[in-house]
């Protein structure tokens, strides 16, 4: 039986570079960095004081909306991106809303320092709690609990945009956004939904977000300027730069899209996921999990490695990821690995964790439609262990029709999307 075509009929972005997809892509194609010193919380004493923050004014209207009391900042970013994609796809005209599903990668808010300080008053430091005193003092805020729930996101979207179909949240760390798109793609192929609103979002630029990744030694700690800190595949990279943002795609059954006359921007051709099953703290040294995910995505698309024109790398700017991803690409593509343009959007945007896979998928589609391959900026000092063509510092004009987009999560969950320019 012939596989259904899953096309992209809308997309939306909100990132440190722009309030929407066009602004983000425009700045990214000029190689502009969205990284700066953190303004939203006091970073005194932290070894990393930079990040990619989205301007508050871009979501100020949502901060006063009825959802804002229990929606995390990540959720508000997502709502903004969904709004853009929803309108672009013209989903309002679809009357059978049980055919519209949602699949989102998101993790919810971190607890706040003031909550922890409040709670410590009811704890004796030796493992004993005074629950009743805590309860009498008002306990935790219900609304803060709701902001921490990752699934509140899909419920708010379903409610706001009247989507009565499948409704799932994926939480696979840095691969969550790509996995959410993969699950949405499968749902459309299987005929479970005609349309899926999918993507990912993250906003954990706060004390606990930074504390966690500082303890893991994952953040960039050596940099001469914020804009130069995220330097994937460069020899002087020292870790990733935390960022926030959201990316959304509208996936649709091809027949459904053409019947309603929707404009088509691209196509999801294949999807592969895998686990490293190696170590929680390290990637497989040969990138085995990444190899499996890429091979599965290419096979699922019914293509060969010769068909791939571009790879949007996970490229976090950590020592380990960039070497391992390079190794994995070489294993999948052999000699051709050196010919394929590879770039990392994180060099400009930083790492948006659950949002990354989705944001990068949108930028990949926009790149194909504009025949622009985005650059890996801050590439100055070649690393002998990262010896492929990373489109250094300047975007190139090149027609490309089929791309892979990689996402690898902490713990060893991997996802790879095979995306295509729409060819009727």
């Amino acid at each position: 039986m012939k596989k259904k075509r899953v096309v992209i009929t809308g997309y939306g972005l909100i990132t440190p570079l722009g309030k929407d997809a066009i602004e983000t892509f425009d700045k990214a194609s000029k190689g502009i960095s969205g990284i700066d010193y953190i303004k939203s919380f006091d970073t005194t004493g932290l070894p990393c004081t930079i990040g990619g923050e989205v301007k508050n004014e871009w979501i100020s209207d949502l901060e006063n909306s009825r959802f804002s009391k229990y929606a995390s900042r990540g959720c508000l970013l997502l709502l903004r991106a969904v709004q853009e994609a929803y309108e672009q796809a013209g989903l309002k005209e679809i009357t059978n809303t049980s055919q519209i599903g949602i699949s989102i990668g998101c993790h919810g808010d971190n607890p706040k320092v003031k909550d922890m300080v409040f709670v410590h008053k009811f704890y004796d430091g030796k493992g004993n709690w005074d629950y009743h005193k805590l309860q009498k003092a008002g306990g935790y805020s219900f609304l803060n609990f709701m902001k921490r729930k990752p699934d509140i996101v899909t419920s708010i979207i379903a409610h706001k945009f009247d989507c009565k179909g499948l409704n799932i949240v994926t939480v696979s760390a840095c691969s969550a956004g790509a996995q959410a798109i993969g699950e949405a793609y499968k749902a459309v192929i299987d005929g479970r939904c005609k349309v899926m609103i999918t993507g990912g979002a993250e906003s954990i630029i706060d004390f606990f977000g930074y504390l966690g990744f500082t303890l893991l030694k994952a953040l960039a700690e050596r940099y001469s300027s914020p804009q130069g800190a995220s330097r994937p595949f460069d020899r002087k990279r020292s870790g990733f730069v935390m960022s926030e943002g959201a990316g959304v795609l509208i996936l649709e059954d091809y027949e459904h899209a053409t019947t309603r006359g929707a404009k088509i921007y691209g196509e999801v051709l294949g999807y592969g996921s895998s686990t490293d099953a190696y170590r929680i703290t390290d990637m497989h040294p040969q990138g085995l999990g990444a190899v499996i995910a890429m091979k599965k995505a290419i096979a699922d698309a019914g293509l060969t490695t010769n068909d791939i024109d571009y790879i949007n790398a996970h490229g976090t700017s950590t020592i380990q990821n960039d070497i391992t991803e390079t190794l994995a690409i070489k294993q999948v593509f052999g000699e051709r690995a050196r010919e394929i343009p590879i770039s990392s959007n994180k060099s400009m945007l930083g790492h948006t964790i659950a949002g990354a896979g989705a944001i990068e998928a949108v930028l990949t589609i926009m790149g194909m439609n504009n025949s622009i391959i985005l650059a890996t900026i801050n590439y100055e000092f070649p690393d002998p262990k990262c010896d492929l063509y990373y489109v250094p510092n300047k975007a190139i004009m090149k027609e490309h029709k089929i791309a892979l987009s990689n996402s690898f999560g902490f713990g060893g969950q991997n996802a790879c999307l095979c995306l295509g320019k729409f060819l009727s």
Binding site: G45, L46, G101, H107, K114, M116, V117, V119, H120, Y123, G125, G127, W129, Y131, L134, Q135, G139, Y140, F142, F145, R148, P150, D151, I152, S155, I156, A158, H159, K164, G165, L166, N167, I168, V169, T170, V171, S172, A173, A176, Q179, K186, D190, R192, L211, G212, L215, K217, S273, S274, T275, D276, A277, I280, T281, K296, G409, F410, G411, G412, Q413
Partner: protein, 379 residues
């Protein structure tokens, strides 16, 4: 058309049984002997599981929360019973729903306490000495997906995977995704299931604040205190050609969304839509209801009667074993497997009829309006 898939083994751990073999004889504690204090942990169904019982090294266990131990235990039982180790690791799918992961306050609070200066949290103090109280790999233990990754390492599973969270219907999504993964040849076989939240002051507070502790289990008019339950349930799922014994057939799935702003519950239309998609006109012998807040329960009963008439038998397990939240649907599914194989667990005896069940429907909702149903049939 919904693809045909089969449950070939079940692995589980709950407060009252350590595996599926003992499930049938397991008894639950009598609630009337408990105190009425909701914050008294003894009232809730706490799982008894230790790192030693799973032969986990002390180094590995430092970044394993209790939810990880439960997930590993249930997954291993399902995996080993079906001999999944004969498959290429890349051909084994792994899908899990995982409840809210809470910070272990003890992991952080001593750092906060050491960082206090004149009654205020002081960042300088924190970076001078406070942070040293925190284990460097602590952040990994609170990432939602780490449990599945740790279990994948132990079982050497490398195939198609996903982690869903933490809607109370997420476990049924996990099972559904495994079925589709097999039907689309992305996996030859798959493990699918869920793990509940770990019961803690935070999770109890959240439960109360979400108003799910006063559920309407036996009658929508009569709220009953529902306590929380810990546990994990996993299923080995295989296609038509399996050589393993087929314990039950997974033959229908439905999902819908509907939240009524006025009543603050799921809508009757959403429940009907979900059940209709799962059953497609099939006769059902028993429905395991979700039953939670009052309006949800009214709407669920109304939807059940609207679709199946007045004669259909329905029951909620939450008053018996407690509420496993994210894992609730998977637990009801394990119970359905037992009943469909003519085994009546002691704890449910008297709450359902002693008869041959052929088709059982399971409902699971989230407090935010998601509704999911799955149909399980006798082979």
């Amino acid at each position: 058309m919904y693809p045909k898939a089969y449950i070939t083994s079940v692995g589980l751990i709950t407060a009252f049984t350590k595996d599926f073999e003992n499930f049938i004889n397991s008894k639950i504690p009598e609630r009337d002997k408990c105190s009425t204090d909701f914050f008294d942990l003894k009232n809730h169904s706490i799982c008894n599981i230790s790192k030693d019982s799973l032969d986990i090294s002390s180094k590995d266990s430092r970044i394993m929360g209790k939810h990880t131990l439960m997930l590993i235990k249930a997954s291993e039982e399902a995996y080993k019973k079906t001999g999944f180790d004969r498959y290429n690791p890349e051909e084994i799918g792994y899908f899990s729903a995982i409840g809210m992961i809470d910070y272990e306050n003890e992991d952080l609070l001593s750092a906060v306490i050491k960082s206090m200066k004149e009654g205020q949290f002081d960042l300088q103090e924190f970076f001078k000495k406070g942070y040293r109280e925190i284990y460097p790999l602590w952040p990994l233990s609170m990432l939602n997906n780490i449990s599945l990754c740790q279990s994948a390492i132990r079982l050497n599973i490398k195939g198609d995977n996903c982690v869903f969270t933490p809607h109370s219907d997420a476990s049924l999504h996990s099972i559904n995704e495994a079925i589709w993964s097999i039907s689309n040849n992305k996996s030859k076989v798959a493990l699918a299931g869920a793990v509940s939240e770990v019961i803690s002051p935070q999770s109890i507070a959240r439960y109360i604040l979400c108003n799910t502790n006063k559920s309407r289990v036996s009658s929508p008019e009569m709220p009953v205190d529902i306590y929380m339950a810990e546990g994990s349930v996993f299923f080995a799922i295989e296609g038509e050609t399996t050589e393993n014994k087929k314990l039950a057939s997974l033959s229908g799935f439905g999902a819908s969304f509907g939240f009524d702003d006025v009543s603050g519950g799921v809508t009757e239309q959403a429940v009907k839509s979900s059940m209709y998609q799962a059953c497609r006109g099939k006769k059902v012998d028993l429905v395991f209801t979700h039953y939670s807040r009052q309006q949800d329960s009214f709407n669920e009963i109304s939807a059940i009667k609207g679709i199946f008439g007045d004669d259909v038998e329905f029951v909620s397990t939450k008053s018996l074993i407690g509420d496993m939240l994210t894992c609730a649907g998977a637990f009801d599914c394990a119970l359905a497997v037992s009943l469909l194989n003519d085994k009546m667990p002691v704890f449910i005896n008297g709450h359902v009829k002693e008869k041959k069940y052929n088709t059982i429907l399971i409902n699971a909702f989230s407090v935010e309006g998601n509704v999911t149903s799955i149909l399980v049939e006798r082979v």
